[in-house]
Symmetry: C2
Subunit: 263 residues, 2 copies
Amino acid sequence: MKFDIVIVIVYLRHMIQVILLGSGNVATHLFQAFSKVDEIEVVQVFSRTVSNDFPETLQTSDYSKIKVADVYIICVSDSAISSVSSLLQFENRLVVHTSGSSDLNVLDSKNNKGVFYPLQTFTKNKAVDFSEIPICLEAENVSDYTVLEKVAKSISKNTHAITGEQRKALHVAAVFVCNFTNHLYQIGNEICWKNSIPFEILQPLIKETAEKLQSLSPSKAQTGPAVRNDQKTIEKHIDFLTNENQKEIYKILTKSIQNGEKL
Amino acid sequence: MKFDIVIVIVYLRHMIQVILLGSGNVATHLFQAFSKVDEIEVVQVFSRTVSNDFPETLQTSDYSKIKVADVYIICVSDSAISSVSSLLQFENRLVVHTSGSSDLNVLDSKNNKGVFYPLQTFTKNKAVDFSEIPICLEAENVSDYTVLEKVAKSISKNTHAITGEQRKALHVAAVFVCNFTNHLYQIGNEICWKNSIPFEILQPLIKETAEKLQSLSPSKAQTGPAVRNDQKTIEKHIDFLTNENQKEIYKILTKSIQNGEKL
């Protein structure tokens, strides 16, 4: 009698299957980030029109053809989240949005709701390193939160449980430190341009102003004529500015620094 | 007969001798930068009171004891530049100030005037890498400019001939991109603090907003509800803010983004 011993090893790795709904900046950057990791498989991208940013074979524009997946991530403009979630033709699955300013409850109640909010500024054709991006998570129940956390941790070292109220606060704070800051850069650019100075000359200052925060609080890092109460320089600057809008911004921010709370 | 051949090589390296007048942030950072390079010797620091930031043996507070040097760099507050330069008891030497907003001619005419303006935000106890800092130079004559350029190039790769008018423009632009930007960071910090969110969560966004400028102009990098004309989100944000000052800043910067010139 002879025995043949056959050992079969079955290795099962659970990949989380994700479907992205939307084809804008957030969807594109998430797709690129998920494509680089083993834990996530993007099985489909729902997009109203065919987009060059995703493989054509993955795309659909038909709600009835949306596949089964573990997580559906809606990456559309805030005003469209509600209608996209209502048009989904399935129930009791995990559907999340990526909006900083929208409530969990804008999502249709037929599915389990959640939020997957990457706190970053995404620009087309500008790669970002997702590993440092804070991802703010919210879910209605613990098991959904666990799934969202796995998805987030697959691409970022920086994940946080954030309530709806906190997320709204963060979104407002992000407008100040990102959108408004960039607008101040633009004003700096305009002033340089009008005086034949290359804008690049301001870049080391811009970089240092941002990097300082790694070792100092903003109130400790504050420099300039406003915090010194150097009224003579402030008046010279206001006289120098010819653009009324820039003058107004100069005055209100100077006043705010001078009266500001100190944290 | 016998010849002894003796060859003596005399190697003369001209070190530029510098005297710093002032003991604040700019003087301290310049002293540290000059101390690291062979081309510059700081022979004296003039300071009204003894400062721990410089070797005691180098310090004097007596105008009559100021030594002979190639360049005198006045690093005092804008309002004191004129009087310090008038109190100097010598003539026809090169005396420069480090102010972005002061004219060359605030310096006393008994000496040769110049400007040595490092475009950076200096904070006590926060080291800066001088090699990237733009140094904006101005002088009354070519030979003085050449000396200033040598001094500047000894510590920075980034030196520029900048007229008085351009320097004033740069100083105003710097207030927008540095001082005002830092104040927006502080508002972000306050919003986080009031909502029990760690400010660190905003840091990757702050960093990316600054770094984006290396590949995009500020107008191309602009994101957020204002540039999207997303009035619904803008109203939600204004409602969310309880601080009247923050509300006012939000409104004026949003309006400015919406009406802004595009460079």
